[in-house]
């Protein structure tokens, strides 16, 4: 057979491309399939949370109830759930604060302790925060002793009897949701009130919210309110760029929220 140099290179290239590119890469993706790749609703039982910031008045009753329910000493500066206040002034300045984690609520227009006139405020909102119960929790990956883990239904818990208190998980949470518990001397975090949701109750923070700003439920149960909101409304998550796949969804966030 007579092969020119050019033909050899051409055929060689085709052969190399043919072996490198898998058949599936040539398939044309339908938009639905592409969307499901970005955010699949998993089929297994999975807890998730919805926070409607447009309803939150910043009374902090959730933070109070959480502390009492979960035995986090009330007058310490650590909290499983807290509320942040974001205020943008008319001159464009953004002030963010969360005095005492808002467990005593917001009763004054005094971001960062400095009272300001109502007329100076351009916009503002309250953002309740809690553990995002990530699908890929970066806090769990760094535990050197296997003392923190994700349950089958998607809640990240701490094994208090096994935690050595090294604090890696606390520094590795992009949402600052973990802290050092002053009494057990272990890492601690929001559990979605695992003792309540597994008994069919609502979490303490959901129950204590008079404004319906919080919802907890199964993400894949068509009867749950969380499912209904996620499948009909526009929601977003905090810090998606970390790739943790957080499962606390927010309604009405703003670009000043971080």
């Amino acid at each position: 057979m007579n092969l020119s140099r050019r033909e050899l290179l051409k055929m060689g290239l085709v052969a190399v491309c043919g072996t490198v590119i898998p058949l599936s890469a040539l398939e044309i993706l339908t938009p639905e399939a592409a969307a499901s790749l970005i955010h699949p609703f998993s089929k297994k039982k999975r807890w998730a949370f919805v926070v409607d910031t447009t309803k939150c008045v910043g009374c902090g009753m959730c933070a109070k109830a959480c502390k009492l329910e979960n035995e986090v000493p009330f007058d310490t500066e650590v909290q499983r759930t807290w509320i942040e206040r974001y205020v943008q002034l008319k001159d464009g300045k953004v002030i963010i604060d969360s005095p005492q984690g808002a467990r005593y609520g917001y009763t004054k227009n005094d971001p960062q302790g400095k009272e300001i006139k109502d007329s100076e405020v351009a916009k503002g909102l309250f953002v309740p925060k809690l553990c995002n119960q990530c699908e890929k929790p970066s806090c769990v990956q760094v535990c050197p002793v296997g003392a923190t883990y994700k349950t089958e239904d998607g809640v990240v818990l701490v094994d208090r009897g096994w935690c050595i208190g090294c604090g890696y998980c606390i520094t590795n949470c992009p949402y600052f949701a973990r802290f050092f518990h002053p009494i057990t001397n272990t890492a601690d975090k929001c559990t979605f009130c695992y003792h309540r949701i597994t008994k069919g109750l609502n979490t303490a923070c959901v129950d204590s919210c008079a404004f319906g700003a919080r919802k907890c439920g199964l993400i894949n149960d068509p009867e749950s309110e969380v499912f209904k909101i996620l499948s009909t409304e526009r929601v977003s998550v905090l810090k998606p760029e970390y790739g943790n796949e957080p499962h606390v969804f927010y309604i009405g966030l703003d670009h000043i929220v971080r």
């Binding site: 447009t54 309803k55 939150c56 008045v57 910043g58 009374c59 902090g60 009753m61 109070k64 109830a65 502390k67 009492l68 329910e69 979960n70 009330f74 007058d75 206040r85 205020v87 467990r103 005593y104 609520g105 917001y106 009763t107 004054k108 227009n109 109502d118 405020v121 916009k123 503002g124 909102l125 309250f126 890929k136 929790p137 769990v140 990956q141 296997g146 003392a147 923190t148 883990y149 994700k150 349950t151 089958e152 818990l157 094994d159 208090r160 009897g161 096994w162 559990t191 695992y194 003792h195 309540r196 597994t198 008994k199 109750l201 303490a204 129950d207 204590s208 008079a210 404004f211 319906g212």
Partner: protein, 175 residues
Amino acid sequence: MSHAWRPVFVVLAAIVFFLVARVILVPSDFSAKNGDYKYQWHRLSSEQYWKDFPVKHKGMEFCGMCHVPILEKLKGGGHQNVQCENCHAMFNPEKKSHPIDLKEISGYLLNIGTDRSRELCKRCHAELPYRPSTYTDPKKGTVKFKMIDPDKHNPSMECAMCHDVHSAGFKTAAK
């Protein structure tokens, strides 16, 4: 046998020691559910610990078992969604003042008392420019959320002097 084998025995002994120590030290219920060693490697007993954590907030239905008229009043007014415990659970155990020991009777663990401070009502009702101005009422739908300026609305008086907190209205005498 050549002396060159000695380090090999040392290494083997170390491996055996490690494996034995591991069997002794690692609790037997340590395992990875679904073979997920990355996220689900844990002591299975820990899940039970969290499931058994005591439930403390029992909601208005619990208080309403004994305080029937108050629950009725509450359900008929603006505070129908405000849990008793929001205002009556005391974070300061000294403020506990419930005449009946609920812990003894029904294993209820929170400290119940009465907070008459204006600060309590201000948590929801103080007017802030960024506080949502509407409220989703379970029956009436979206209504105006009523806020007051605490510096102007009858300052230095207890809110409960004039307002009936449970019905979210007024004391009959003040009407």
